[in-house]
């Protein structure tokens, strides 16, 4: 077992529950021992940095301080969420590059009895750890149900391969790590040139038209390549592409149905883990087709709300509505 410190981030407990569930389910089989940092706080996403510099970095650095205190034999801090990963890495990097920033952040941390020496942690994304530490061959060995015939679009989004302060990825725009991992699971990985294009981030909350276009572009790209499913490594990407797919469809008058899953969910399937343990069914655009392709029985859907009691025709003492002529009849009259 290899020990790692884990910073889950807020989404993992709420909107990306499926990511956390599936991560917990696959961690044991591949020998990944994750130790969650106690009492971590939000990383500020992409919001705090745009408001005030020192508080934003102090917010991030509290997590780094807690993690370095908890580091016991390991200095690797793993973040499964792209924005969290980037923010943690960013704070560590800039506190070092700009000592004055490091000094100010530490002065703020001191008020809470904490401190952080930049460079003392190794901050990495989950995918990086899986591919480069655990290794593709070790993952391949655990596959009992190869994802044969499943056409997968590998989608990383922006903040994992960029800006890449520590030069961990094979490329900033067309990295191959996720492709290799999915191939190790036996999936058919499609060529997906949009793999690191942006999902829109917080634009769904700010400029919906811009955001919907970004979502449409990605979904239609995957759809044109006849992908059965798009796989993400980021809670924000999953939320935008899955949660807002319906609204984007309405906006453009399209009818895409592209399930968006976390890569850990597909790993779990390939390892023969029950889809229910992997958070299947939590996606808003149903991924039942993925399970059907693999011949796996889908977990029962959350029961829909009970239908409203049908109104009795004689229920209330109301006058019956007037019988109106049908539109066709009216049109006929007009044309006559």
């Amino acid at each position: 077992m290899t020990d790692y410190l884990l910073y889950p981030g807020c989404s993992m407990e709420t909107s990306a529950r499926a990511y956390y569930d599936s991560l917990k389910a696959i961690a044991g089989p591949i020998g990944l021992n994750l130790k969650e940092i106690d009492d971590w706080n939000c990383c500020g996403a992409t919001e705090y940095l745009g408001i005030s510099l020192t508080p934003a970095y102090a917010l991030i650095a509290r997590n780094l301080a807690l993690a370095s205190n908890a580091a016991n034999g390991t200095r690797t801090l793993v973040a499964p969420c792209s924005a969290c990963y980037l923010n943690l890495a960013k704070a560590d990097y800039y506190m070092n590059e700009r000592p004055k920033l490091g000094q100010m952040v530490n002065e703020a941390l001191e008020a809470g009895g904490l401190s952080y020496t930049p460079g003392s942690l190794d901050i990495r994304h989950l995918l990086d750890v899986l591919v480069y530490d655990i290794g593709l061959s070790a993952i391949e060995k655990k596959v009992v149900q190869p994802l044969t015939n499943l056409r997968v679009a590998p989608y990383l989004g922006c903040m994992v391969p960029r800006p890449d302060y520590q030069h961990r990825w094979s490329d900033h725009e067309q990295p191959i790590e996720l492709d290799l991992l999915l191939k190790a699971l036996g999936a058919q990985v499609i060529e997906f040139p949009l793999k690191t294009e942006c999902c829109g981030g917080h634009m769904t909350q700010i400029g919906p038209a811009t955001a919907f276009e970004m979502i449409r572009r990605l979904i239609s790209g995957a759809d044109e390549h006849e992908a059965d499913v798009m796989v993400t490594v980021c809670p924000m990407c999953q939320l935008n592409l899955d949660g807002y797919q319906g609204e984007a469809n309405r906006f453009f008058g399209t009818n895409y149905h592209m399930p968006i899953l976390f890569f850990t969910q597909l790993m779990g399937l390939a390892f023969g883990i029950d889809p229910k343990e992997l958070g299947f069914g939590l996606e808003l655009v149903s991924a039942k087709n993925v399970l059907d392709t693999l011949g796996i029985k889908a977990p029962p859907e959350t029961p829909p709300a009970p239908p409203r009691r049908p109104r009795k025709p004689e229920g209330l003492p109301m006058p019956k509505p007037l019988k109106r002529p049908k539109v066709e009849e009216l049109e006929k009259e007009v044309t006559q």
């Binding site: 992409t46 919001e47 510099l53 917010l59 509290r62 922006c158 800006p163 949660g243 609204e247």
Partner: protein, 198 residues
């Protein structure tokens, strides 16, 4: 590139009225912005997925900063439209930390109250307000506050998604507070004092 060719960073402690706008922006940016290294090549705007919606491409905006056009630059919607995708950052031949400069411009615009559309600043501030209060983000509170104020007409279209998120327990009804919220509040209070001195 040798070390000698890279201009020394503009010191973060630089302050006072004699700073040019460019220097002020650089000094308020985390890390070494390298903003003064921009050669106006336009790779940033050409790489930007949301440039269509921007008042100015990043290249134009940086030229405006250099020209000292404070009001115009801080009023530009460009930093607010930036989606932080870092395409421009990895493509910039001068390695300017473009995305971080955009964050700086947002904070300067908020400070000077110079933004024209309050949707994005309000969203950021509502989000941060929740984080400062609970130590965690609180999606339901954030979404309801933000949508009621800025997108009331989107609410009917949002209902299927919102209900789906709630029924699948992907959104909690109540905020979650961290144990040592007072420690976090103390840290942030001190950080804000330090920031105000800048």
């Amino acid at each position: 590139m040798t070390d000698q060719m890279i201009a020394p960073p503009i010191p973060i402690q630089a302050q006072g009225e004699d700073l040019t706008l460019l220097e002020e922006v650089a000094s308020r940016t985390a890390g070494v912005s390298r903003l003064e290294m921009c050669i106006q090549c336009g790779t940033c705007g050409g790489s930007c997925p949301s440039a269509d919606a921007m008042d100015h491409t990043p290249r134009m905006l940086f030229a405006m900063l250099r020209a000292g056009m404070r009001q115009e630059a801080l009023k530009s919607n460009t930093p607010w439209i930036c989606v932080s995708c870092y395409h421009c950052v990895v493509r910039c031949p001068q390695e300017v930390h473009i995305a971080d400069v955009m964050y700086t411009l947002k904070s300067m615009a908020i400070r000077a109250k110079l933004y024209r559309d309050s949707t994005a600043p309000d969203f950021s501030q509502t989000f941060v307000g929740m984080v400062e209060e609970y130590g965690r983000s609180f999606e339901l509170g954030l979404a309801s506050q933000h949508y009621l104020k800025h997108f009331p007409l989107r609410l009917p279209n949002m209902m299927p998604m919102g209900m789906g998120m709630l029924s699948k327990k992907r959104m909690s009804l109540t905020p979650k507070r961290i144990k040592h919220i007072n420690q976090l509040k103390t840290i942030l209070k001190r950080a804000k004092e330090l920031e105000a001195e800048q």
